[in-house]
Amino acid sequence: MLDKIRQEIKTMEESAERLKSLGVDMPAIRRNAEVILTFLYVLKFITPVVENKEG
């Protein structure tokens, strides 16, 4: 389940980055895309991958 969630977050991140680029001259589009990226940062933080061993 977590893998699927992480994959979906990655897809959304790529999409939001594209949206941000498309909105380069449109502040409303650009800023809303940045806001989406903010929540994706939080989503990545709360679904961390556990490293196999310390270090």
């Binding site: 977590l2 940045e34 806001v35 903010t38 929540f39 940062y41 939080v42 933080f45 709360i46 679904t47 961390p48 556990v50 490293e51 061993k53 310390e54 270090g55």
Partner: protein, 435 residues
């Protein structure tokens, strides 16, 4: 059991440690390249030096005094060398209360704020706040952080938030009744003040319909927590945090200690003497915190100067995070009086647990010649007669002596003589230094 994020909240301990170590290294590298304070402070250390979890102890502590120093006359104004992002990215100003000196100014970006709010969502969810709750927030539009976090987190959970600013206490009681608010947050002191105001209006606080309340901004001794529960007929929960570190631990339905919100925070509990060894479960330790995902204001191994009893990583709620069993107080609140170590929290516990007719109090320490004196100023419920007040004062002095090993003078003050607090209460005044 119902969790906000079951993945992280029930994760095996060793996995949490690994994640936090990985986050710690990321933050270390980020701070070294983005914060003037840490460029300077971490000179000579490289992230490659952090090979095992134990290597975290190679990283020096950060103290509040340093934060102040790195903001004084250091650009960019007003955050100075603490800023971890471009100044244009900052979108909210917050500051510490200044209780212990010059306030520290804290920059939040949209990202850091949302990270912080996510952490707070854990705190509210653990305390049983749910979308069905209509949460009354009795605070003004101000620069302090605590209730803003509560506001945004309650909103994010799906609760209905009632902004309770720009009203006096009576107005707030009326608004709670008018809108049938069923949840409340506030400083413990102010929650008791609201209840007292309701009583003076002829309203039983139990009839307000408050189901749950969450304390913020002040320590919440168990006796005070129970008193608030009894007064409102509600469940009262605690949390701990600060402007510099964010809210980092909260109480679950088991109401036995505070769960660290992991892996948002790496919390170390270190021995008071050397600050080098992790204390054992059941022992007192100084809380040292690293918020692991906040880039606007990176803080690494912040020594909070708060002392708590370390709890286990097990709980009947099923969460696996480290627990703080009891907040003992601040290192700088624990004083030596006539050679005896004294914590003001003991007096609060005593008053809240055994003297329900004391509505407000203040503890003053002075020095006469070479002798320290403690005066306990109290204000009583108006229903107490003069003779009863004298008896109560005598009993209080006796109980104080038994619990603290120190005698004190109890002075009964007229109604309204002592200050009331909406935010952090300052009931302990050590005036010895100024005499």
């Amino acid at each position: 059991m119902d969790y906000w994020n079951p993945y992280t909240e029930t994760m095996p301990r060793d996995q949490l440690d690994r994640i936090e170590f990985s986050f710690f290294k990321n933050l270390f590298s980020y701070a070294q390249s983005h914060s003037a304070l840490y460029k300077d402070k971490l000179k000579g250390l490289d992230v490659g030096d952090l090979k095992t979890f134990a290597d975290i102890k190679k990283v020096p502590f950060t103290y509040k005094e340093e934060l102040r120093k790195w903001q004084e006359n250091v650009e960019p104004f007003p955050y100075g060398g603490l800023l971890g992002v471009k100044i244009e990215e900052v979108n909210t100003f917050r500051q510490t209360s200044g209780t212990t000196g010059r306030p520290v100014y804290v920059p939040e970006t949209y990202e850091s704020w949302q990270w912080r709010i996510e952490s707070w969502c854990h705190i509210l969810w653990m305390a049983g706040f749910r979308p069905r709750h209509r949460v009354f927030l009795p605070f003004g539009y101000n620069v302090y952080v605590a209730f803003w976090e509560a506001h945004y987190a309650a909103e994010k959970l799906g609760c209905e938030v009632i902004p309770g600013g720009a009203l006096d206490t009576k107005g707030r009681v009326n608004k709670i009744i008018e809108l049938k608010a069923n949840a409340l947050t506030g400083t413990p002191t102010y929650l008791l003040n609201i209840a007292q105001e309701a009583v003076s209006m002829g309203i039983d606080p139990k009839s307000l319909g408050i189901e749950r309340a969450l304390g913020a901004g002040e320590p919440l001794p168990e006796a005070t927590r129970k008193r608030i529960e009894d007064t409102y007929g509600c469940l009262m929960f605690d949390h701990i945090g600060s402007t510099e570190t964010c809210g980092f631990a909260g109480m679950c339905e088991a109401q036995q200690g505070l769960h660290i919100v992991e892996p948002f925070f790496l919390v170390e509990m270190l021995d008071r003497e050397t600050l080098s060894k992790e204390v054992a479960v059941g022992e007192q330790g100084v809380i040292v915190i690293t918020p692991l995902g906040r880039r606007s204001f990176p803080v690494i191994r912040f020594n909070t100067m708060d002392v708590a009893v370390k709890g286990p990583s097990t709980c009947s709620c099923g969460r696996t995070s480290l627990k703080l069993m009891e907040i003992v107080g601040r290192v700088d609140d624990i004083r030596k009086i006539r050679g005896v170590l004294f914590s003001p929290k003991t007096v609060e516990q005593l008053i809240r647990a055994e003297f329900p007719d004391i509505v407000e109090y203040e503890l003053v320490v002075t020095r006469k010649d070479i002798m320290d004196e403690i005066t306990l100023r109290i204000e009583l419920s108006p229903k107490i007669a003069k003779d009863d007040a004298d008896q109560l004062a005598k009993k209080l002095a006796e109980r104080h002596k038994i619990l603290t090993n120190l005698s004190c003078k109890v002075k009964v003050e007229p109604e309204g003589a002592l200050p009331r607090y909406d935010l952090k209460a300052k009931r302990f005044k050590d005036l010895r230094e100024v005499h």
